[in-house]
């Protein structure tokens, strides 16, 4: 006996009466969850910015917007983002072309060096640069002054220029990845046909290659733009000592200095609106550019693209490019590890000043151990929860396809598009008692923020995995005697498992080294790893901060290596 449904004709699910309820349940939960995580925090921000005691009032918003410090912060945000985007794009383009199209040697080495920034939280990098080139006398500044008899420190990293420099070094890989992938996947006959038509190699690059990768360049550039606008770590490390603020760091300053008072949070909310507006404009541009579509330039057969011979320029270019990479990638890394070993900050970095005491101090400090524990707990929990929720939502969107699935997709991507700072403010406003539940100062409020932020990662990777599991695989199981549920368990689940595991680590790693969100949400006992490094530094305990930072880097590197091993050995669909 089966229930007979007249409505959903061509839907497999509707035939099995029991299945109808399961699908509806999953769809319902998906909508509710996304509403709680995505919609409410933003709504709360808007409400608190524009409403006071239940009444609409623009007073707060106008006072915040006309404050000259806030305006300066907004102007800084835009200026930094502008320069980072331009220079980062050019740099990414240069390396993409070098590694994707020329016959430069040592490509493997350079690509390996590119992996390092991903394991390095940008704020730790900023810490390292600050140690080297701080305007008050970083290590390298002092060394340069002594060696060349300079009256003043030659480089001051505590400046707009310094912030721009450090951000470029972390964001340029976005353009690199997009463009090098486009170059490698591009059909080489597009360029070959131009050469047959009589064009020299230079003309081919100008008239054919470059226009065809422009969509990839734009995509990468916009990614850099949005990341820089929303970025907290680097400006906070390098800017505070010189009173240089950006919108995200200004929001943090307002809230932390008011010790979490409601007034401070309201001001933060108003500023968040400003930040959302700026980022929103960038997002609209992004959507427009991406929807106008790229060109279909991907090749079918595997052909090797003709590499451009560099001839005389080969070795000079090799030296310049490797040297640059070494400087911006390896120098901060080495600095952190060296300073972690120094007995007291300021002492020359020579072996006789090295000790392991910093490490023993952090490993015996309860606060530090707690922070590691907290981060592990948060990352694992957020990873697992997001993994399962992501699969469920992806299944609803891809297989069940209810009405309003477009909204579901939008809502799941939304929290990631919001700057981490703004999301934190929204989470504070939502979960601090005004709606009945008070999670403030507990670890749960950080977990909620992580869930909102990272859900889109796992949903996208789960979607990609699901799309690879062709429905004929499930149908074949049905024809072999398996019920709908059985076919999901026997066939679909095992085939998306590798994607799910990858999705878990996609969240675990960023969550481990995260700072932007937790720095606004932590309480006395709920520090995360990032927050603890930040706090140690704020307290002036630089060697210990470096030691903990180095531990964080090691943990992340190990986990990353594990994932690469696991995802490599598993064969997916």
């Amino acid at each position: 006996m089966t229930l007979y449904r007249n409505r959903k004709r061509s839907d497999l699910a509707a035939i099995d009466g029991k299945k109808f309820n399961l699908d509806l349940l999953m769809t319902g939960i998906s909508f509710i969850l996304l509403f709680i995580f995505a919609v409410i925090p933003i709504a709360m921000i808007a409400y608190n910015a524009f409403f006071y005691k239940g009444q609409f009032s623009l007073k707060l918003f106008t006072s915040v917007m006309t404050n000259k410090h806030n305006l300066a912060a907004m102007w800084n945000t835009i200026k930094i983002a502008f320069w980072v985007t331009i220079c980062g794009t050019l740099m990414g383009l240069f390396y993409a072309w070098l590694l994707g199209r020329s016959d430069i040697p040592c490509k493997g080495l350079m690509r390996a060096l590119f992996h390092i920034p991903y394991m390095f939280p940008p704020f730790i990098g900023a810490m390292a640069w600050d140690i080297l080139f701080s305007g008050r006398g970083g290590y390298l500044n002092t060394w340069l002054m002594k060696t060349f008899n300079l009256p003043r420190a030659p480089f001051n990293i505590n400046s707009l220029g310094g912030i721009i420099f450090v951000e470029i070094s972390y964001f340029f890989p976005f353009v690199f990845m997009q463009v090098v992938s486009a170059l490698e996947r591009m059909d080489p006959t597009l360029e070959e046909s131009a050469r047959i038509a009589g064009a020299s190699q230079g003309t081919v690059i100008r008239k054919i290659t470059l226009p065809l990768v422009t969509p990839a360049i734009s995509a990468g550039a916009l990614l850099i733009l949005i990341s820089s606008l929303a970025h907290f770590g680097v400006p906070s490390i390098l800017g505070f000592s010189k009173n240089i603020y950006t919108l995200p760091t200004m929001i943090y300053a307002l809230i932390s200095r008011s010790s979490g008072s409601f007034e401070g949070i309201r001001q933060g909310a108003a500023l968040s609106i400003m930040l959302i507006a700026v980022v929103g404009i960038a997002l609209i541009i992004q959507k427009k550019v991406l929807s106008s579509g790229g060109y279909d330039i991907i090749k079918g057969k595997s052909m090797r693209p003709t590499l451009i011979k560099l001839r005389g320029a080969k070795y000079p270019l090799l030296i310049i490019s490797t040297l640059t990479l070494v400087i911006i990638v390896l120098m901060p890394l080495v600095t952190i590890f060296l300073v972690a070993m120094v007995r007291a900050y300021g002492l020359p970095l020579i072996p006789k000043n090295f000790t392991f005491k910093n490490y023993s101090k952090i490993f015996t400090s309860k606060a530090t151990l707690d922070s590691i524990k907290n981060s592990l707990f948060l990352s694992v929990t957020a990873g697992l929860l997001c993994m399962f929720l992501g699969v469920m939502i992806a299944y609803v969107v891809n297989r069940i396809k209810p009405k309003g699935k477009g909204i579901l997709e939008l809502l799941s991507v939304l929290p990631y598009s919001i700057p981490g700072t703004v999301l934190a403010v929204g989470v504070i406003l939502t979960w601090s008692g005004s709606l009945g539940i008070n999670l403030y100062n507990t670890i749960w409020i950080i977990l909620v923020a992580y869930l909102a932020r990272y859900l889109s990662f796992s949903m996208e990777s789960a979607s990609a995995s699901l799309q690879q599991v062709h429905s004929s695989l499930e149908e074949a199981a049905r024809a072999c005697g398996a019920s709908h549920t059985e076919s999901l368990i026997d066939i679909t689940l095992p085939l998306i498992r590798p994607g799910m595991i990858a999705g878990f680590f996609l969240i675990f790693l960023p969550a481990m080294r995260e700072l932007t969100t937790s720095v606004l949400l932590y309480g006395p006992y709920t520090r995360t790893l990032g927050v603890q490094v930040y706090s140690l530094r704020e307290a002036g305990m630089i060697p210990q901060a470096s030691a903990l930072a180095s531990v964080a880097i090691i943990i992340i590197t190990i986990c990353n290596a594990l994932i690469t091993e696991i995802t490599k050995s598993r064969k997916g669909v």
Partner: protein, 368 residues
């Protein structure tokens, strides 16, 4: 007829990471005459595409030399290598390679702009090329708005607009559906007749090659096996590989005993075919399903095992020894299932018995 394209002792070797050094092209010697349509035919990995790329100049040869229209363009000995943009060729690729960011007009005008021809002449020549490829009216369209067949015509127009003497076509019809392939084949042939350029056509589709070529070359695993007209290649293939590559083949394992030929599995009835000199005890006779005569009284006695009607022919399966032969006849030859019949082989070829090692090596090359 002038020698338009000449290859002398051309060899090309590749070093791959997984399979060591491969000789993709081994000592090719061939001459293509002016106004000829010449095909390179063979399975993937045989060297036909590599040879075309050597002629175009996308690869440099390991040994030998290549001459185009009397001019040396590649020579190992003289250390000469003329880059593709200076060889004055026209070329059409399998995936069309039409630039998606330019309208049709700009695509076709590109080679002329490079040459620095003035605007007025460009207009004239482009319009003429578009007319010759049935694309007039589409000047301002983008390639992505047009069908596959139309995109291929854009590529053709772009190739002929500079009036090259030699045109290289690299599997240009493989990405089109069967009906369109036939139409485009005719159009290419018409263009060739009109402008009298020399065409080198690379394909793995033997019927396409036979339909379009004046002469063709069959290659296998980097070696030229046979060069001849389509009819001669079809009729007198030099070995088993060429025989089975150019259309359906029927191979019969036979045993020669006491001066008579017997099909393997039936030593009772001899085949009435003349035995060529210099044969082993076990040989293979090769013929084609359409070259087997079915009669009611004359020939090797057997019976109809299965009969299938196909739209243009009737297909019979008849046992001969321990093998089942496929026979194809027009509908008017009527036999019923189970009926007794007699078969005659018309002009069969004789080949030595099977070589399994060659087949393995062939498969290996196709993976590269």
């Amino acid at each position: 007829m002038a020698d338009q394209v000449v290859l002398r002792h051309v060899t090309k070797q590749f070093t791959t990471r997984t399979l060591g050094t491969i000789t993709a092209v081994n000592d090719f010697n061939l001459t293509v005459y002016e106004g000829e349509c010449f095909s390179f035919l063979g399975p993937s990995g045989c060297g036909k595409t590599t040879t075309l790329r050597l002629i175009a100049g996308f690869e440099d040869l390991t040994d030998g030399e290549i001459e185009l229209c009397g001019r040396l363009v590649s020579s190992k000995e003289k250390n000469l290598y003329v880059p593709p943009e200076e060889r004055g060729l026209g070329m059409v690729f399998q995936a069309f390679a039409v630039w998606p960011h330019m309208i049709v007009f700009d695509n076709v005008a590109f080679p002329l702009k490079i040459q620095g021809i003035n605007k007025h002449d460009i207009q004239k020549k482009v319009k003429e090329a578009l007319r010759n490829t049935s694309l007039d009216g589409f000047e301002s369209a983008y390639p992505s708005d047009l069908s596959g067949g139309q995109q291929q015509r854009i590529a053709l127009a772009r190739a002929i607009v500079t009036n090259p003497k030699v045109m290289l076509l690299d599997e240009p019809l493989s990405n089109l559906d069967p009906k369109l392939r036939e139409t485009m084949r005719f159009e290419i042939k018409e263009l060739q007749r009109k402008f009298n350029f020399t065409v080198i056509f690379v394909t793995h589709d033997q019927s396409e090659a036979m339909a379009i070529s004046d002469r063709m070359m069959v290659c296998d695993m980097g070696n030229i096996i046979q060069i001849d007209t389509p009819i001669n290649l079809y009729n007198r293939p030099v070995n088993r590989f060429v025989h089975s590559f150019l259309g359906e083949s029927t191979f019969i394992n036979v045993i020669i005993q006491d001066g008579k030929v017997y099909a393997k599995g039936n030593m009772e009835q001899a085949l009435d075919i003349p035995i060529p000199p210099d044969v082993d005890r076990e040989m293979v006779i090769a013929t084609r399903p359409n070259a087997i005569e079915l009669t009611r009284n004359r020939g090797y006695k057997t019976r109809i095992e299965k009969r299938t009607f196909l739209p243009d022919i009737t297909e019979y399966l008849v046992p001969m020894g321990d093998q089942l032969l496929k026979v194809q006849t027009p509908h008017r030859i009527k036999f019923t299932q189970g009926e007794e019949c007699y078969i005659n082989l018309v002009n069969p070829m004789w080949y030595p018995a099977e070589d399994k090692e060659l087949e393995t090596e062939r498969l290996r090359r196709q993976l590269i």
